[in-house]
């Protein structure tokens, strides 16, 4: 969208783009000013020295006639006037007579008989190949007829785009009649840098060449011919010389710097002090170069030069075959370059680093500027890199902003995701921990047994749990389990396992039957194909008879009050949900009063230290051996927990660590004798 808008803006030449374009074109001219190689034209300047000698401008036309005569003596090929004479000279004898308040009638009469100054100038002009200056513009009642100019050869279909003006200011008829031709003194709008000057214009319907063109044509005694050229341009042929101009009859001037060598002083001409080579056979322009004279112009090189020098440069451009054009397709090429650069940026930028992207954008700007310079230097064509470069940078900026905000969005997403993950982990942990009964609160003080349990969750939550509850007056059901998985799925599965086990246990039967029944239920709601190791027991608190079943779980240790730890056998079955129709066997033994068991998950035995060694069931056995003979379940649990923590050291705990310690103190009858 932006790209399209910019392309259109470029094609439409917004004032800003236009201003920048002109600045760039001026930059080209300043970087590579045209060297003056031809000396076809010389300017005779009515300068400060001449005015000091002959008085203020305008001079009487007799003086101008004298000057023209001198120039002619030097053998000039033509003389172009960058001055004009629209009114009769007020210094003519008859005019003076009419002006003076008291003049003897005789004197007035004889003055009136003298030739007018205009006639004197006309006589001088005749035969010196003079091109008079005229100015095109609004209609002027003094000059109702179109200016007389030699015919310019044109294609049959005409050149309708050439500028057309409705009027002009010319010269008094007597002078005009004596001149060989007329040329336009127009040099572009006032108070603007002179970049484009009219070469031909239609004035009151007549096609008229500019003063420079016409002065050269007269000097060369050649014909002038216009023909259409590629890119909507016009070829201008003058004898052997040719150039290409814009469709409106103007030409972009290739400027050289101000050069005093172009000028000779009118005073030196009058006093015959000029090197004859400077005038002999040359086109001569007669102009004014003095302080206070209005006709000064600014060139693209930033110089302030007499207007007549612009005409001289026109002649030099034309004579030297130097041209500079801006074809109709230039704007299209610029829009195309912008579209190409913009698209490339839009496609490539998101795949690049910010630094690479910046390099690419600057490379494009350099390439555009370089292409513009090459077109200027080698193809005499004005292509504008400023518009495409600004457009490219704008596209770059907006894509960068887009990319940055995309990156920002992704960062935010990652942060949110991390927060969600943390939230999920927290939720999983809350589910897991919230389901665990509190040994102290849940069971009150039953003198027949003591129980302690602990679950230390790992960073990425495993699915351990423990549970215990009375299934009837006499029997305590307890379970320690470990789900094979992590995170929310494991936590949810653990919740399902826990409730199914409880449901199965409360329905009665042997522990093996409870596991078998629970497995059948759990298997129905296990989409993740998780499994769970379970050690479950049913302790008759009166008799001390323990019934238990092991589903792939770490066998627990038991210890008599004054004995050593003894590990349960590994008989039993696979974890729940590994072999879904497995029937779990029940085993049994009778505990002695004061005997306790310690059930752990592999988070404890497989807790790893920094060198990658496991805590192992042997260290667990040693830990349990060092427990005092009358230690409470809480003390046993603390002992194991501390030993594991000390062993792990700075290493990260990889899996949940679960411990359950259960001590049977003796039957109801024995209870009072218990401490």
């Amino acid at each position: 969208m932006l790209l399209a808008a910019l392309s259109i803006a470029l094609a439409a030449s917004l004032p800003l783009v236009r201003g920048l374009r002109l600045a760039v074109f001026d930059g080209y001219q300043r970087l590579f000013p045209l060297e003056r190689t031809t000396t076809v034209v010389t300017i005779v300047a009515i300068d400060e020295a001449s005015i000091a000698r002959y008085g203020q401008w305008p001079w009487p036309r007799t003086r101008v006639a004298e000057l023209v005569g001198r120039i002619g003596e030097y053998g000039s090929a033509s003389i172009g006037f960058d001055i004009f004479f629209p009114e009769p000279d007020r210094f003519s004898p008859a005019a003076i007579a009419a002006e003076l308040p008291v003049v003897p009638t005789e004197l007035a009469h004889s003055l009136a008989l003298l030739p007018s100054n205009d006639e004197v100038l006309a006589r001088s002009i005749r035969g010196h190949h003079v091109v008079l200056g005229i100015a095109s513009g609004a209609p002027d009642p003094r000059f109702p007829a179109p200016p007389r100019a030699p015919p310019i050869a044109m294609p049959a279909e005409g050149l309708p785009d050439i500028d057309s003006l409705p009027g002009h200011i010319g010269n008094v008829p007597v002078i005009s009649a004596a001149a060989e031709s007329r040329g336009l003194m127009d040099a572009g709008p006032e108070s603007e840098v002179v970049r484009q000057v009219p070469m031909v214009r239609r004035v009151q319907g007549a096609l008229v060449a500019s003063l420079g063109v016409e002065t050269l044509r007269v000097a060369e005694d050649a014909g002038l011919k216009l023909e259409p050229a590629r890119g909507g341009l016009i070829n201008l042929r003058l004898g052997d010389h040719a150039t290409t101009i814009q469709e409106d009859g103007t030409a972009w001037l290739r400027m050289g710097p101000h050069d005093p060598q172009r000028f000779v002083s009118a005073l030196d001409v009058m006093e015959r002090r000029v090197n004859p080579e400077l005038l002999n056979g040359r086109a001569v322009l007669l102009g004014i170069d003095g302080i206070g004279v209005q006709d000064y112009k600014t060139t693209p090189l930033g110089e302030f030069v007499p207007g007549v020098e612009i005409h001289a440069q026109v002649i030099e451009n034309l004579f030297g075959g130097v041209k500079l054009v801006r074809p109709a397709y230039a704007s299209l090429m610029e829009a195309g370059a912008l579209a190409a650069c913009g698209l490339l940026l839009i496609v490539l930028l998101p795949r690049m680093s910010a630094l690479q992207g910046t390099h690419l954008a600057f490379a494009m700007v350099l390439l555009l500027t370089g292409s513009g310079l090459v077109a200027f230097l080698y193809f005499d064509t004005l292509l504008d890199p400023a518009g495409p470069a600004i457009g490219t940078l704008a596209v770059f900026a907006s894509v960068m902003v887009g990319t940055l905000s995309e990156a920002e969005r992704q960062r935010r997403q990652l942060r949110e995701q991390a927060a969600r993950m943390a939230g999920e982990v927290d939720a999983a942990r809350r589910i897991q921990m919230g389901l665990l009964p509190d040994p102290h609160a849940a069971l009150g003080h039953d003198p027949r047994y003591g129980i302690a349990a602990l679950l230390e969750p790992a960073r990425t939550v495993g699915g351990d749990f423990y549970d215990f509850f009375m299934v009837d007056e006499r029997r305590l059901f307890f379970v320690v389990a470990d789900v094979s998985g992590k995170g929310l799925p494991a936590a949810l599965f653990m919740a399902a396992v826990k409730s199914n086990l409880k449901g199965a246990a409360l329905r009665g039967g042997s522990v093996g039957e409870i596991l078998t029944r629970a497995q059948a239920q759990i298997a129905l709601e296990n989409p993740e194909q998780l499994f769970v190791t379970v050690f479950a027991g049913l302790l008759d608190l009166d008799s001390g008879h323990l019934e238990y079943a092991n589903a792939g779980h770490e066998p627990p240790f038991s210890r008599l009050e004054r004995g050593v730890p003894e590990r349960f056998g590994s008989s039993g079955g696979p974890p729940l949900c590994v072999i879904e129709d497995f029937v779990f066997p029940t085993q049994g033994r009778t505990l002695a009063a004061g005997e306790w068991l310690c059930v752990v998950t592999d988070g404890a035995t497989e807790a790893m230290n920094e060198s990658g060694a496991f805590f192992s069931s042997e260290r667990l056995r040693a830990s349990l051996t060092w427990v005092g003979k009358d230690a409470t379940p809480d003390e046993v649990m603390a002992r194991v927990r501390d030993d594991v923590a000390r062993f792990v050291g700075q290493a990260e705990i990889a899996d949940d660590i679960t411990l359950l310690v259960l001590r049977w103190k003796g039957g109801q009858e024995a209870a009072p004798s218990e401490r």
Partner: protein, 124 residues
């Protein structure tokens, strides 16, 4: 964890070395499933040579279980051979010898696959 495979007739022996735990089990599972799949298609068998497996966690056991289920579904066979003491204990505790047929040596496992596989192993 590293897996290298060798073919003996219709049997593929996968030697698994290192530790098989939460961090490595996904990669292992991908490879194992691929072999189980192709073995099932040509009525062959996969023999897991665990002589260099140091440790298997419950996540690793789950991998074995899923492979066994896939093999069963595709009528393929997986045998396990040459357990190290630690892994043997884990298999014993978790009763995974009920999931897989476990053999003391690769040779014996290949004998259970086919006479050709065992012969190919003898020759190599």
């Amino acid at each position: 964890m590293n897996v290298s495979s060798r073919r003996y007739s219709t049997a593929v022996v996968l030697q698994v070395s290192g530790r098989l735990d939460q961090d490595t089990c996904d990669a292992f599972r991908g490879q194992l499933m691929g072999h189980v799949d192709s073995a099932a298609r040509e009525a062959g068998a996969v023999v897991l040579d665990l002589s260099a497996l140091e440790y298997v966690s419950s996540a690793g056991l789950r991998c074995f279980m899923l492979a066994s289920r896939q093999a069963k579904a595709q009528h393929g066979r997986i045998f396990v051979a040459q357990l190290q003491p630690m892994v043997a204990e884990i298999f014993q505790i978790s009763h995974f010898n009920l999931v897989f047929q476990v053999f003391p040596t690769v040779r014996e496992a290949l004998g259970a696959v086919s006479a050709e596989a065992a012969a190919a192993y003898e020759k190599a």
